[in-house]
Amino acid sequence: MSKKISSTNQPKEETNLKGTLIMVMIVGIAILVMWFGAYGLFLSR
């Protein structure tokens, strides 16, 4: 079932995942903002 079969489907690298990249980047920025917010609060105390 895991045999590689040649097929007419596009190979993975050409799959359009632009939306995915934007979504994960939003997640990444949320992490950065929260972390620096907490670090700033830590420094102010």
């Binding site: 993975k12 995942l17 980047m25």
Partner: protein
């Protein structure tokens, strides 16, 4: 194993963020010395007075140099012993001027307690057999509640004090 090129971008970005966080906290910890408290100093929990800092007369606030203070505290269920006022009543409030450097030294006579000067970075576990120690510059003025923030029994929420920075 195949990685989509955007997944590579994402993982590089994510890894770089993690490394950045680690560099910041690592630099602060190892170069600036802002480790969380860890002194690995032990004490007999059934005889804390054997340590000079925790003899009844030495509890509470002492000014050791100009602008430098030490506060010694013995925690027990469900009380912080900050020593006594001149009139003999138990001290409940520690008053220090803004900008002073205060070393908090706490130990427990019985179970595990917490010691947090809420609203500051002074936040330690206090465990029987260990001395908890944390030095902090009191940057901001105000009244800060000292809370036991580790469950120590049914009177846990009644264990508190006050630090006033003026």
């Amino acid at each position: 194993m195949h990685l989509h090129k955007y997944e590579k971008v994402w993982l590089v970005f994510g890894l770089a963020s993690l490394v950045l966080f680690l560099l910041i906290i690592g630099f602060a910890a190892f170069w600036k010395g802002t480790h969380p408290q860890s002194h690995i100093e032990t004490i007999d929990p059934q005889n804390v007075e054997a340590n000079e800092s925790f003899q009844p007369d030495n509890l509470g606030l002492t000014e050791v140099a100009d602008g430098k203070y030490v506060v010694n505290i013995v925690a027990s269920a469900f009380n912080y012993d900050f020593g006594k006022e001149e009139d003999g009543t138990a001290t409940k409030t520690i008053r220090v001027p803004k900008g002073s450097t205060v070393l908090f030294q706490v130990t427990s006579k019985d179970v595990v307690h917490g010691f947090q000067v809420a609203g500051t970075n002074v936040n330690m576990m206090v465990e029987p057999g260990h001395i908890s120690r944390f030095e902090s510059v009191m940057k901001n003025d105000g009244e800060f509640t000292v809370v036991c923030n580790e469950y120590c029994g049914i009177g846990h929420h009644l264990m508190f004090g006050t630090v006033e920075v003026y």
